[in-house]
């Protein structure tokens, strides 16, 4: 792999950009690998990358039904933060945030991480108390967040209306290190680095069945034939339920649609990310000038990658109240992703009832921000066969044992 650098740009400028090589190879599958990872989204590719980088396992195939980064990695609102209430969540999301901070250098690929700061508005007294609790919890966890006054919110976000009739802004939980990244670049950067380590990224290859012998996985049947493996990692977000069924177990997961949309591009007007959880909307401005807006999930099982129309209306209605200036913006595009929601709104990074088969799913609405941390923890689990400190609490048996990592009560909202 040729490194990207200012010298590479100068060199290519002199020879009419004829020397850029393909970012990753598209090989045909080999019959057998040490590790097969199903799902070439951010989490799957990050898992493969850290397997190679941290654990020296490079005989790896990442197989993907569609194209890489074409699922939820390409369908989110690119928000990155780590201000979670529960200790295991804060630990893994902050690991992810720390890795994001140096990811562009690490991958030699610009993921456009922009730590522009993130606000979670408190618009009810209940939320004020909740976020004060989170600030103190974050202090103990070593995650830097602060509680700021409505006046400071107005300074940071001049376009906000802090004394709205229904939901005045009473303060905010502020994480200056939070921000956004370029979602596609994260997948592409990991893919390029994986390919450079000799891993095979096999796209348009759908898994049709999981084979096992004596309770231990031996490989997967795919549309490109049987691919054998010693260890299997399932990292497929919304479709985890289908894959788990092929492997013979059930998950505590329901797949629902989560929607987002972007407006027409406008001049720069907001340089932080704002989440308004009471009214259920969040907004940031992309580098192109579009306002990127996310809303809530639908309440019913859905695999169609489009959500219900009335959710768009609810989200925009709420945001217009908080940001009156967006009332005349036209929405350019709307899309939905299939998110895998667990009962406690925390992910699974876990061994499974099938031997040598591991699962990483259930990130629900918080998938993008966690990609590097999730990959790091999953790689450790797959390499050693036992979870490390980051993944330990996220095993799938916590539901039986009643040890929830209850972010649904902590956040009460999409996150």
């Amino acid at each position: 792999m040729k490194r990207y650098s200012v010298f590479a740009i100068a060199r290519e400028a002199l020879r009419h950009h004829t020397g850029w090589e393909r970012a990753w190879a598209s090989p045909e599958p080999k019959p057998q690998y040490d590790v097969v990872i199903v799902g070439a989204g951010g989490h799957g590719l990050a898992t493969a990358y850290y397997l190679g980088k941290n654990h020296g396992i490079r005989n790896v195939a990442i197989i993907e039904k569609g194209w890489l980064g074409g699922g939820n990695t390409g369908r989110n609102t690119t928000i990155i933060r780590s201000n979670y209430l529960q200790d295991p969540s804060a630990a893994i999301y902050d690991k992810a945030l720390q890795l994001y901070e140096t990811l562009s250098q690490d991958l030699n690929y610009n993921v456009m991480f922009s730590p522009r700061g993130l606000l979670m508005l408190a618009q009810t007294h209940h939320e004020v108390r909740g976020y004060l609790r989170t600030v103190h919890a974050n202090g103990l966890q070593g995650v830097s967040t602060e509680w700021i006054s409505p006046e400071r919110v107005k300074e940071l976000v001049p376009i906000i209306n802090i004394d709205g009739p229904r939901y005045p802004v009473l303060g905010a939980l502020y994480q200056p290190r939070g921000g956004t990244g370029r979602h596609d670049a994260v997948a592409w950067g990991y893919a390029r680095a994986c390919s450079a380590m000799g891993m095979d990224i096999i796209q348009k290859c759908e898994v049709k069945g999981v084979r096992s012998e004596g309770g231990v996985v031996t490989g997967v049947d795919t549309t490109k034939g049987f691919i054998g493996c010693r260890k299997l990692g399932m990292v497929v977000a919304g479709h985890s339920g289908q894959l788990a069924e092929m492997a013979g177990f059930r998950l505590p997961i329901e797949a629902v649609a989560l929607q987002a949309m972007v407006s027409e591009p406008i001049k720069p007007c907001m340089d932080v990310v704002v989440m308004a959880n009471t009214v259920h909307g969040y907004m940031s401005q992309s580098d192109k000038g579009e306002m990127v807006i996310g809303g809530g999930t639908d309440g019913f099982n859905n695999y169609t990658q489009r959500g219900s129309f009335h959710h768009i209306e609810e989200t925009l209605r709420a945001l217009v109240e908080t940001f009156p200036m967006i009332s005349r913006l036209k929405m350019l595009r709307q899309w939905g992703g299939i998110v895998d929601m667990t009962g406690d709104r925390s992910p699974l990074i876990s061994k499974t009832p099938l031997g040598n088969c591991f699962i990483n799913c259930g990130w629900g609405t918080g998938g993008f921000k966690s990609i590097p941390g999730s990959g790091w923890a999953m790689a450790e689990l797959m390499a050693k066969g036992e979870p490390g400190p980051l993944a330990e609490a996220f095993n799938m048996w916590r539901f039986k044992e009643g040890r929830f990592i209850d972010e649904s009560v902590a956040a009460g909202v999409a996150h």
Binding site: Q242, R250, I253, E254, A255, G299, F300, N301, G343, F399
Partner: protein, 107 residues
Amino acid sequence: MLILECPCCGVMADETELAPGYEAHLKRFGPDSSDEEFEAYMFARKNPKGVHFERWRHAYGCGKWFLAARDTATLEVFGTYPAQVSEPPADIIAKIRAKRPDWKGFK
């Protein structure tokens, strides 16, 4: 937008009038059951891509619970039926079979 017929009051209700209740026909396990049964009842879900039986409540109408058979991959509704049954009625099964010959059946 989803439109479901409430079998309790006969209204064709659209989604904004209804509250979703996720998977139907779960067998309830109580305090004397094993951990596995209780976990399966509380958390493990079929979550199929395809035919799904689910609970809905006509929240802004008659207020009653009912059940629906729906395809989660296409959003097609096969039918709705009252909630006082432990498995889908034969006429609903027949409707699904007519439209989805490869469907593996309710289990």
